[in-house]
Amino acid sequence: MIRTFAICSIMLALISCQQEIKPLPYIGDRTDIDGSMLEHDIRPFEFVNQLGSTIKNKDVDGKIYITDFFFISCPTICPRVKKQMLRLYSKVKNNEDVILLSHTIDPKRDTVEAMKIYADNLGIDHNKWWFLTGDKDQLLDIADDYFVAAYEDDEAPGGFDHSGKIILIDKEGRIRSFCDGTDPDSVDKMMKDIDQLIATYE
């Protein structure tokens, strides 16, 4: 009896150890081409940040990034997500491998100037957290890229912009985790995922 218990305990311990070191999964569509499985990709993009600089895929290459969609005048969900994004910002602000990207879905009103004021009011480092604006269709297309993946196993109603989702992208541009930005517990889990992802590059 004692021996069985001991064996079970060791097995359990081994399983939990394995889970500790298990890398984060890849999230999103896997296209079968020539028999090989591809991870979900983010299409090429070109946006402008709150400083007026052009931001393309190459500018986030080799960076882990945390991303969401917002708009300044958003009446319901965005203020709650903003609070959680600020928590994530505080967590990673001293790690130069990690940046934050918030895309507006209201480029007509969220101009470079408006976003600069918005970012100034948040008191954040403009080189650490970019607020991106650009062509609306392109912004929505990129939202589809991020959220198609995140919605795969999520039947929750709500559009991409009202989902309050926050997505974690690795240094190779692959989606590794997402959370509900309106729920602090879900964001706590994301914080652990960020640590886990950073650890895989060390």
Binding site: F71, S73, T76, R109, D137, G158
Partner: protein, 131 residues
């Protein structure tokens, strides 16, 4: 003397209950406005989806109709975006003004909802008929 106390007490409780009724109406109206908004907001995704599908239609004879559909979809999107940009939870001193504002906003978001739903329906029918 005692009679005037009773009158004052009655008036005070009447005023208080009126305030309470106005506060309840205010919260109810605000929730209703938000509910209409929250219900239809996910449809913004359908606008984008329909727009993409319409752009893929190749028939050159349809060019004019295609651009009309796209204009309508953009206008429906803009109707919601500008409503959101203009809407503020009212915090005026006079509760009656807040209630008037919310009643207007309820009407306005209802119109936005109808425009969005009709435009999406028309666009989806157009796609179905021309694929």
């Amino acid at each position: 003397m005692r009679f005037s106390y009773i009158i004052i007490a009655l008036l005070t409780s009447l005023t208080l209950s009126c305030d309470r009724m106005e506060n309840t109406e205010y919260s109810q109206l605000y929730d209703e406005v938000m509910e209409i908004h929250d219900d239809v907001m996910p449809k913004m995704r359908d606008i984008h989806k329909a727009k993409k599908q319409i752009k893929k239609l190749k028939n050159t004879e349809l060019n004019e109709e295609i651009s009309q559909q796209i204009t309508s979809l953009d206008a429906a999107d803009e109707a919601m975006m500008s409503w959101m940009a203009n809407f503020k939870k009212p915090k005026m001193e006079n509760m009656a003004d807040n209630i008037t504002y919310l009643k207007e906003q309820k009407e306005s978001i209802t119109q936005v909802r109808d425009v969005m739903l009709n435009t999406i329906e028309e666009a989806e029918t157009f796609i179905k008929n021309n694929q």
